[in-house]
């Protein structure tokens, strides 16, 4: 833990500057490594810590594990409607939770629209709030 805070300060500084303005707070909060890299990555998908498979602190030294692309940008799907359940269900976990952006690779504006659509679909009983979709 101590090594994490002291040694790669130089390494962390440039990366933190590029990805988030919260540079001073990151030094203090590096105790929770994976959690710290989580929200940082969601802001910048090309972040230095891909937050990859779980504990991405040690293993995430290299840059992109896998270049995840936004499905909507690639296939040029413009409208994300609450009515197309099959499309929405791809971004919903087994438990019914909305899958975070860093796992699916969706870009931010599409993720926001997707979230609104999923919440609308939940309200009209097309998707469950919790639990598996029958």
């Amino acid at each position: 833990m101590a090594d994490e805070t002291k040694a790669p300060v130089a390494e962390q500084a440039p990366s933190n500057e590029t990805s988030a303005p919260a540079a001073p707070s990151s030094g203090g909060g590096s105790g929770s490594g994976p959690h710290r890299s989580g929200p940082r990555d969601s802001r910048d998908a090309r972040g230095p810590r891909p937050g990859g498979p779980g504990a991405g602190r040690e293993g995430g030294r290299k840059f992109f594990r896998r270049k995840k692309v936004c499905k909507f940008c690639v296939e040029k799907i413009e409208s994300i409607n609450y009515k197309d359940v099959r499309l929405l269900a791809q971004f919903v976990a087994e438990s019914g939770k909305i899958v975070p952006r860093r796992l699916t690779g969706v870009c931010t504006p599409h993720q926001r629209r997707l979230t609104t659509a999923i919440k609308q679909a939940r309200n009209i009983a097309l998707l469950p709030f919790a639990g598996r979709l029958n």
């Binding site: 609450y82 309200n123 009209i124 009983a125 639990g131």
Partner: protein, 135 residues
């Protein structure tokens, strides 16, 4: 007054078709009385609900697209709340979304027309395209 709304509601599954049609026509008259216009009515059929609503596991989905002001929707929702067979409804405003989609389509059309002609006239068209496309 050109707001377009999409109103989707669920009716209990053991409802007769004629009663459903009567309900829909009541809603349509309410729309026209308030000065709106019904653009589309779509009965999406019986579907299994993702969770139990008022002790029902299936329901008949109906989609109604209307054009009108906000007061119209207020009135429609009031009626739906009172109607006993209707178990759930949601209203979504879609005119802004339509505008955005139309804009994207127009840009795509312009791009397609400009591309096969020559690259040169397409250049000014493409110069203006990326700005709204990325918005």
């Amino acid at each position: 007054m050109n707001r377009t709304y999409e109103l989707m509601f669920i009716v209990r599954p053991d409802m007769v078709d004629e009663e459903l049609d009567k309900l829909i026509s009541t809603l349509e008259t309410a729309v026209t009385n308030t000065g709106g216009a019904v653009k589309n009515v779509e009965k999406m059929g019986k579907r299994r609900l993702a969770y139990t609503v008022r002790r029902f596991n299936d329901g008949m989905y109906v989609l109604l697209t209307v054009e009108g002001g906000g007061g119209l929707i207020h009135e429609l929702e009031r009626r739906l709340r009172v109607t006993e067979p209707v178990i759930k409804f949601i209203t979504v405003r879609i005119d802004e979304e339509q505008k955005r989609l139309d804009k994207i389509k127009k840009i795509r059309e312009a791009r397609k027309k400009a591309a096969p002609v020559t690259p040169a006239p397409a250049a000014p068209a493409e110069g203006s395209e990326p700005a709204p496309a990325t918005a």
